[in-house]
Amino acid sequence: MARVDLAIIGAGPAGMAAAQLAAGKGLSVCILDEQPRAGGQIYRDVDRVAPLRGDLLGKEYIEGRALTAGLGAPGITHLAGAVVWAIEEGPRLAYTQDGKGALIDARHVLLATGALERPMPLPGWTLPGVMTAGAGQILLKQSGVMARRAVLVGSGPLLYLIAAQMVRAGTPPLAMVETQTRGDFTGALRHIGGALRGWRYLLKGLGLLNEIRRAGVVRHTGAHGIAITGEGRAEAVEFTAFGRAHRIACDTVFLHHGVVPNTQAARSVGVAHCWNTQQRCFVPELDGWGATSVGCLHIAGDGAGIGGAKVAALAGRLAALDIAARLEAIDATARDTEGASLRRAMLSELAARPFLDAAYPPLPEALAPADKTIICRCEEVTAGDIRGYARLGCIGPNQTKAFGRAGMGPCQGRYCGLSVTQILAKENSQSHDATGYYRIRPPLKPVTLGELAAMDDAPEAAE
């Protein structure tokens, strides 16, 4: 069985930056990632795609090549297409690669599993043709597949980025149905100081908006009462804005109202999480270096709280420094000296975040959906079902599994967990922390008996 100093799960900005720094301090590093090529979702396939359509995707995407290039450093093994399905005592990771199960032992583990789209349950959101905005970006980045007749629905900087990229590709969206209100913007102004310190983000946003406007893309704001309609697939987006009802016919709908930490792996090993009011999601409880309440385990990047790609890379380096110090590759003074400048850079990158979070809040009707709206996509459990469970005495997400299978499908709650917590918290007049979240158990991803049988270093044999 392979044995390394540091095993990293996720080859996005946090994982890649951490791998390079840790290897530079003399640690042996193995970075496992589900995708065939490094980059994470933000820099997906950047090495192959940058020469093909880097101009369309933008400068910040191409910059990811600096991180992927770092994985070529001595001391780093990159396991591509490796799906980790269990994190065990040791720590030891169990994963599948090329149809075969395998194990790897490490002295320390770093989780860099990134973000998921915030669930956006709306009427019709399960119809074929409705996807996350992140999915739209992945299609464009990795595959060069562009939606011809798409409507973007929701709010936030990512929505403007994908709209601008669609404009550059010659396939502008039919319309943007934006959910933020003038009141949100006015409320966000109390964070204007931070926004001005993070002016690069604002400037980028204004640039994108200009591109979208010049292309003549229709923008609706303050949209509510949103439904996606169609027979067997998405055919239109219906909504109300400024007192007027609208219907826009389309083939594809891209939904987005922010991203949230992907906490599945961290929860599976019992890392403590708490509710973050500003970002309206659960985040793992970490110290300033990304260390968790569980031994030999750090978390860095968007999985630790949403900060974006640049913050993720800096956090990955901070975690790698602390891990190198714990494994005695460097001393604490070296860690603190090198860490100080990383921390300053991180605070500066985070400056605009409170403004953006307040100006583009999640859509209220998707946080407290109508009774008929499906919440658990896998098992087709509605918001009304979950409210009904609460009336019968269901106080937490784990009980909803017994009441009606919510969260028990193949996605293991990834796209319903936060919705279930929020609905139960409201129905039971309890805090989000008291309501809690699904208990996540391995396997984190499905593993077949064939993959297990093909495992050539079974734990017994390795002892």
Partner: protein, 98 residues
């Protein structure tokens, strides 16, 4: 190029291989992401849910939502986590099967 299809393929020039989906013969770009390639070929419904039989297609494209499930050699797999290879025989997972 068929402008009526929901998706346009910017890499339409790539070498293609024969793949079948539910008995339908397709020519998809070799090595491409399978879910993206199926969307590019005009397939929008990948499966029907076991609970109600409702149609589903790709949603997250990053291996998290499990909505793009297809059946390959009797095994249900996520199309967005696979690459197109020559001679791939795909089916919709059996409706009603969990």
């Amino acid at each position: 190029m068929n402008n009526a299809l929901p998706f346009e393929d910017l890499e339409a020039g790539r070498a293609r291989v024969a793949v079948s989906f539910g008995g339908q013969d397709l020519h998809l770009p070799e090595g491409a992401n399978l879910a993206a390639a199926l969307l590019g070929a005009g397939i929008t419904t990948f499966r029907h849910t076991p609970a109600s039989g409702a149609p589903r297609g790709p949603f997250c494209m990053m291996g998290a939502c499990f909505d793009c499930l297809v059946e390959v050699d009797g095994v249900t797999r996520q199309a967005c986590m696979m690459e197109v290879s020559d001679g791939l025989v795909l089916d919709m997972p059996q409706a009603g099967e969990r």
